[in-house]
Amino acid sequence: MITGDLLIIVVAVMAIIFTGLGIYLFSIDRKLTRLEKKQELNNMFNAEQ
């Protein structure tokens, strides 16, 4: 078993990396949602014309 200190550091680093990746994925998701809403508005606008 690796020493306690090293273990905590590894766990912390992994947690940070994965949380960071999760935040990145979320930001992409939100951007896509925003763009999709804009498309819907555009379509409705064009349809009304």
Partner: protein, 234 residues
């Protein structure tokens, strides 16, 4: 222009994506911290079980999704299904690559070499090649409808054969380095209770992440198509 309809999965839902992330995070942290049974050869690296195997699960789910949407496409000829097929294959390739990398690292540690002549490894390599060939096939046809149809056919063909090769043959093989196949004592059967508590949430978490990646991919390409079409119309 074809009206691209909404899908059944609540794509914009927040809770399942969050669940996936939380589960993965949990599995990563807990996987490093919990006690594991002491086994010869493998020692601590058995923790890789939480990651390496999950990759294969995710990949398999993706390829299964690709199969379902391939059949759907051949039944209904809706271009949206084709987007799902290709998206699923690409996501599957991604997870498969991760699976291979984690597998190679694990192999180097436990068996001493990055690659061996093991039926499961061969199966993994073959499936990689098959789906990479799928990507090549897609890139060689320009017309959208034909590309969708032909790649759907190859997808179904390759999947069925791969199911046989990956599922049936390793069980028949007489020698294997992987646990649980071909004469080795199975570590999967003896999966410790504590490990099980981390493993199954990890699998579910990674599958959710895989689905999320798939939906992101499909939504992105759908948007690109829509914007492109709008531009050419106006």
């Amino acid at each position: 222009m074809e009206r691209l309809t909404e899908t059944k999965i609540p794509v914009k839902g927040l809770w399942w994506k969050l669940t996936g992330l939380v589960l993965v995070l949990y599995s990563v942290i807990a996987g490093l911290l919990i006690d594991v049974p002491q086994l010869p050869v493998i020692h601590q690296s058995i923790r890789n079980l939480f990651y390496h195997v999950c990759m294969w699960f995710g990949m398999f789910v993706m390829y299964g999704t690709a199969l379902v949407y391939s059949i759907k496409y051949l039944a209904r000829y809706r271009l949206e299904d084709d987007l799902y097929v290709s998206g699923a294959v690409y996501t599957g390739l991604f997870f498969g690559t991760l699976g291979l990398l984690t597998g190679m690292l694990w192999a180097k540690f436990t068996w001493g070499d990055f690659w061996t002549n093991d039926p499961q490894l061969n199966g993994a390599a073959v499936s990689m090649m098959a789906y990479l060939a799928y990507a090549v096939l897609r890139s060689s046809i320009d017309e959208v409808a034909m590309r969708a149809r032909i790649s759907a056919v190859y997808n179904i063909f390759a999947f069925m054969l791969l199911v046989i090769f990956l599922g049936v043959l390793p069980r028949l093989a007489d020698s294997s380095l992987h646990p649980g196949k071909g004469g080795n004592s199975s570590t999967m059967e003896g999966l410790d209770m504590t490990m099980r508590m981390v493993f199954w949430p990890a699998v579910i978490g990674w599958i959710l992440i895989a689905v999320w990646l798939l939906t992101l991919n499909v939504r992105y390409r759908k948007l690109k198509l829509k914007i492109h079409l709008n531009q050419t119309q106006s």
